[in-house]
Structures are given as structure tokens and as C-alpha cells.
Symmetry: C2
Subunit: 278 residues, 2 copies
């Protein structure tokens, strides 16, 4: 049997997958891109040795990254997606009828092209008229922009290498400045099982820029540690509250999941003060 | 680097762990027992090639297996624990002051002895006066017993090999008969990510014996698929409701976690009717 063994420097459990076929494997200007087929997960996209999405379970991540912030915003019109070259995040954003414009900022054009070819149901929204693709650094795009964006969604690789610039104090400050008064920001922040210290660091760095900061989780089998966390920041609105009634078609996300995904408040406080006990 | 590679025939992702030392490795009458040390998880107990508990994260599983049913029962006095030779489940049961008697039914005495030696903080409750150890088949213990037990907790290995007898219609019927009117039953039922069909099968088999059947989950990094499920059965009481006010010391479980651990009702119905969409 041919095995793909994941190369995640921070994961205390190493994951490996059966490979039925290698469909694509090439280095882009930025990273090593591979697509392989697995009997359970279908096609799997790998960047620099780490699994990004699989056909079978990508919706857990994409739905949970997008719908919490877009449903707690009263009327999101202009959305920025940074990273997420596979297009799954953009696809979910477009489910919200209020959205008029999506700036889709992906540094690596090759990821977009690979996704269009091998993951058409994930990349499906990329050609929508509301989407403007810009192949550039997300930090450059938001820098100097002022108060016209309703939501910024960061869908990057793990917090290593060139993705690190998307987790700095300067980046968070620039995002806060480009958001309108009711604006919302969300980013992945690794696993509560494996990377608790990183989660806390992202939260604390965000608190220097956003008056409201919170944390929610989702179970994602293909990300190391699985109990995956998302960090939300906003200028005033509480992301735990749902402010929209329109229904969107989802497989995992629902209003009940929205509410139960956030850590209980006392657990959240214990996490931030280092008193979680594990 | 020395690696332990887990042998789980049902898992589409294979997990492997760094081994800093092998502390114990012997075949018992029933299974292969190993204890190794890992830099992140501390000591790890392995039965027949599958990780059972780790020092670092065992409390997620043990707390969630025990406190949902014991806190939804109004006054649990007599409890049966089947399996769980490491003692972690018994330790959690004993945190409830109402409990007067614990029948601890573990088929493999060697697991108890290995745990006492290598996991003293997990095995800590085994010597308590309220605990009666019986090294026998759990199915034999409950057979023919009538209506005097408040909770039965099954803490077995995966649903393969000799543990299979703990997931049959006959076994569930015997448990229902040994439970008092307000009695509660809980058992592990594998991962919602990896073993959805098994989860549904356990649920449906339980419905043939219990008027009330439900499902909740917890994030457990060291069990394949991680999004771990627990199946609850009762004669009348809804396990989603908390009926006790006494506080117990826990690291993960809390009343908020109790409520959010259950699947939203519509997702639960879609799971059972095969309409989950994944």
C-alpha cells in the first residue's frame, strides 16, 4: 500500500493516508502542491506536506469558517477572503444573498487553477460575477484600506512560513481599520488539543486590535488535533448572536451549531488565563 | 525516532506516535497490553494495537462517559461499570457523593494491574470501599439481574473482537432489565467522522430495548476520527436534562458542555434516517 505521511512539525500525532493515485504534484512559486486520491476521503489537496481539504469533509471547515461571522453580521455586503485558493470559502460566502462583492485575495494562483481542475464542486463560486480575484499578499491588500468592509475571512495554511504574516499585531490592526462599524473578522487558530498555546497567542494578539474577541471550535478529522479553533474579532457586535433569518443550505452549520460551537464562557476565561488544567 | 503506528482496521487515517520508552509489553489471557511514553501525551496505554488512554487527555473521555448520565439521573446510588480496567471511569463515578456502590466488571485483570502500576492517578478510585471488582464478562454479570441498578456504563474497547458482545440486542435488553425505573445506560459508539454507520447501528439496536435513546459527542484527539460519540439509553428520563445540583471537580465537563454535547435534534434525525449528506 502507498501511504501519504503528513509532515506537520507541531503535531504530536502523525496522520497518514492510503494513496490510491497521485493526480498532481508540482512546486509553485510559493509551495509544494499535491493532489492524491484516497478511498475514504476522495481527492485530497496537500500544500507543503499538510492536508488542506478533502472532497469528503471540506464542508465542515468551510461552513464553520464562513457562516458564524456572516450570520452574526446584520447585513454583510462586502467581504474579503484572504487565502482559501481552493475556493470553498468563497463558495460559502456567496450563499449569503446580501453579499454584493467578494475580494478573493490568494497569493498563489496555481492553487486556484489546481482546485478548478480537481475540485470543481469546491471551486464552483470562483467564476461568480461578484468575485474579484487578486493574486497578491493579503496583508498588502488590507493595508491602508478604510472602513468599507463588512467581513474579513482568513483561510490560510498553518501558522508557519509565509502564512505567519497573517497572524501579527500589524495585520490585525490593518484589518480592524478596513472594517466598517459592524464589521467582523475571523481566522483559523489551530487545534485546542495540540496547539493550545498558539490559540491563546492568536487570541491575545487579536485583543490588542479588536474590542470584542471570541473563540469557537468545530470537529475536523483531517486537521491535526481535530478539535479545530476559529478566532473572531469585531468592533462591537457579539459573534455568539445570530442577527439574520435567511436560510442557507448547509450540511453541518445550523443556528444550534452556531450557539454550541463557542466555548462556555468560564472555559474560555480559564483558557486565556492559563488555568484550563491540561 | 521510534514510532508506534496504530492498528485500527476501521480508521481511514492512521495515527502514529513518537515512543520515548516502552514501559510494558505483554500478552494477557485476552489481549496484547503495552504501555509506552510519549513526549506530549505522557504514558499511553495500548490494547491490541489501539490507544486506550493517555495521561494527558484521558479526562475528556472519562468525564464525558460518566457525568452526562450521572448528572441526568436524579440520585444515582448503584452503578455498574463494564470494562474500563484502567479505572478512570470508576474514578469519575466516585466523584458523585450519592453513589453507594460501584460494581466494576472488567474481564481482564491484567489491565487493572498494569493501570495501578503505570497510571496511578487514573486507577486512584479502584481501592475505594464502595467499589466491588469482578473479573468476568460484563454480559454475564447483567444477565438475569432485575431493576436495582441506577446506571450502567460500558467502557469497552472498539466494537471488534470480544467487545462485540457488549453491542448486541440481547445485551441491551439485559441492561434494560437490570435498570431501575429512572435508570440510565451509556456506551461509547465510535466516531461520527469515521464510523457513522456503526454509530447508527448502535443507536438502532438500542432503540429495540430502550424507550429513550440519544447521542452526544466529545472531542478526543487520541481516538481515531476524534469526534467521538456516546450512545445513551433510558426507560423514561431525557439525558439532555440535568437533574442534580451538586458540583463535581472536572476539567472539561460542565453543565454548558452537557447541553451542547448532544447533537441538535434535526441533525440527530437526519443521522438516523441516513440523510446527513456526508
Amino acid at each position: 500500500m502507498i501511504k501519504f505521511i503528513e509532515k506537520d512539525p507541531y503535531a504530536p500525532i502523525q496522520y497518514s493516508y492510503e494513496v490510491s493515485r497521485i493526480l498532481y504534484h508540482k512546486k509553485s512559486k510559493f509551495q509544494d502542491i499535491m493532489v492524491f486520491a484516497n478511498p475514504f476521503f476522495g481527492k485530497v489537496l496537500v500544500l507543503d506536506g499538510v492536508v488542506q481539504i478533502t472532497e469528503r469533509d471540506e464542508f465542515f471547515y468551510h461552513e464553520m469558517l464562513v457562516h458564524i461571522v456572516l450570520n452574526s453580521h446584520p447585513n454583510p455586503k462586502k467581504v474579503v477572503v484572504i487565502g482559501g485558493g481552493d475556493g470553498g470559502t468563497v463558495r460559502e460566502v456567496l450563499k449569503h444573498k446580501s453579499v454584493e462583492k467578494v475580494f478573493f485575495i490568494e497569493i498563489d494562483e496555481d492553487v486556484i487553477n489546481v482546485s478548478k481542475k480537481f475540485f470543481p464542486s469546491v471551486a464552483s463560486g470562483i467564476r461568480d460575477k461578484r468575485v474579484e480575484i487578486k493574486c497578491m499578499d493579503g496583508a498588502e491588500f488590507v493595508k491602508g484600506r478604510r472602513s468599507d468592509i463588512d467581513a474579513v475571512i482568513v483561510d490560510s495554511t498553518d501558522i508557519v512560513g509565509f502564512a505567519k504574516s497573517l497572524f501579527t499585531r500589524n495585520f490585525f490592526r490593518a484589518i480592524n481599520q478596513c472594517l466598517a462599524e459592524e464589521g467582523m473578522f475571523v481566522t483559523l487558530s489551530e487545534s485546542l488539543h495540540f496547539h493550545k498555546d498558539m490559540v491563546v497567542e492568536v487570541q491575545k494578539t487579536m485583543k490588542s486590535s479588536f474590542p470584542v474577541v471570541d473563540l469557537y471550535t468545530a470537529p475536523i478529522a483531517t486537521y491535526a488535533g481535530n478539535w479545530w479553533s476559529f478566532s473572531v474579532g469585531s468592533k462591537q457586535l457579539d459573534p455568539r448572536e445570530i442577527r439574520r433569518t435567511g436560510r442557507i443550505r448547509t450540511k453541518y452549520y445550523s443556528p444550534e451549531i452556531h450557539r454550541s460551537a463557542f466555548l462556555p464562557k468560564d472555559m474560555y476565561e480559564r483558557l486565556l488565563s492559563g488555568k484550563l488544567g491540561w
